[in-house]
Symmetry: C2
Subunit: 185 residues, 2 copies
DNA sequence: CACGAAAGTTATTGATCAATCACAACCTTT
DNA sequence: AAAGGTTGTGATTGATCAATAACTTTCGTG
């Protein structure tokens, strides 16, 4: 039951990801997070300065986790092979709808925060996303267009998952990985 | 000042789109919507049964507006020409960040609603999105893969806009419409 | 063992918010 | 002009929630 503050912080982040994925920033109570962790609600504010900080940690964790999945799936591969391996890995990852939803909650929260004058949230979200993009681009061989297309299909998958289309719905049928292009460099 | 209930409902939907785009469902108060419309907060509940109904009307309006833009841009065109016209039109549309954000708020709200057992929200969102997809597919000539790719790039654009990357940021450079594929039918 | 630090709790507060109710102003039609 | 429907407001309420403060329990260590 008892844990070090650092361990506890990690379980808070994991629990927060699940709750924020469901309800978004405003729709999630610190009470709900605390309940999932198994600690009292006020204790969260010993581990983090405020709710916003918990959300930011969850965002960071979410993006890092995504990269870890890509990295592991494409270890040692490059070019088309790497892309296909990462694509497949992503389809497995998003079986867990919460992972996708946390990503999307992160995206929408940037505009909300910026509307209220808090520009730092967006700054760090852009940085995290750019880092993911660059890592993927590097892994697929450095081509900007290929990386962009990879991300584009990823974002479409996110949308389909968010909307809750079952994976055997016809809307998914255009995503079968195939002979899409014939360009060099 | 005084309007028919129907006219008023329309201005509520427009105002709601702006506010919900910023704050999401939970982060937007009916007070804020009412203030933007210029009526008292309780009056909203004469025009709509509850907050959820306002949100759903805003979602519906958002998707319909998107299609109207595509339709107008590609009127009389087909195939690649239609696709390019719609692509360009979308880049103009999303200059207005609110339009994009409302779309994304709609996507994330489905999972939130379904987590609370309200499956109808998702049902109608999926239907609206599918309708948009089918109309686009028809317009570009009926090819599922091409329509899928078009939507994929659209979803990437949404993400970039949500995150607030300025359009001259290097991350956008992979989106220049170009010679992407050489497939027939 | 005792004592100090670290982990954790209970109680509370001030704010915010969706929704209801009772009431007022306004227009139209006869 | 007065009746009656429609548009609209002010006051209020019960619930929810982030955050603070004051207190307790548990563990490692000299």
């Amino acid at each position: 039951m008892r844990m070090s503050a650092e361990e506890r912080r990690e379980s808070v982040v994991r629990a927060a990801m699940v709750e924020f994925a469901r309800g978004g920033y405003r729709g999630t109570s610190t009470e709900a997070i605390a309940r999932r962790v198994g600690v009292s609600q006020p204790y969260l504010f010993r581990l983090f300065p405020n709710k916003q900080a918990i959300f930011e940690a969850a965002c960071e964790h979410c993006i890092e986790e995504t990269w870890r999945v890509f990295d592991k799936a494409s270890e040692g591969l490059s070019g088309t092979e790497a892309r296909e391996a990462m694509g497949e890995a992503y389809l497995n990852l998003v079986e867990d709808r919460e992972q996708v939803m946390m990503q999307m909650q992160m995206y929408v929260s940037v505009f909300a925060a910026e509307s209220l004058g808090e520009m730092e949230v967006g700054e760090s979200a852009r940085a995290a996303w750019l880092r993911l993009f660059e890592r993927i681009r590097e892994r697929v061989g450095g081509d900007q267009k290929e990386a962009t297309q990879f991300m584009a299909f990823g974002m479409l998958i996110n949308t389909l998952v968010a909307l809750g289309y079952p994976t055997d719905h016809q809307i998914w049928s255009g995503l079968e990985h195939g002979d899409d292009e014939a360009e060099g460099s």
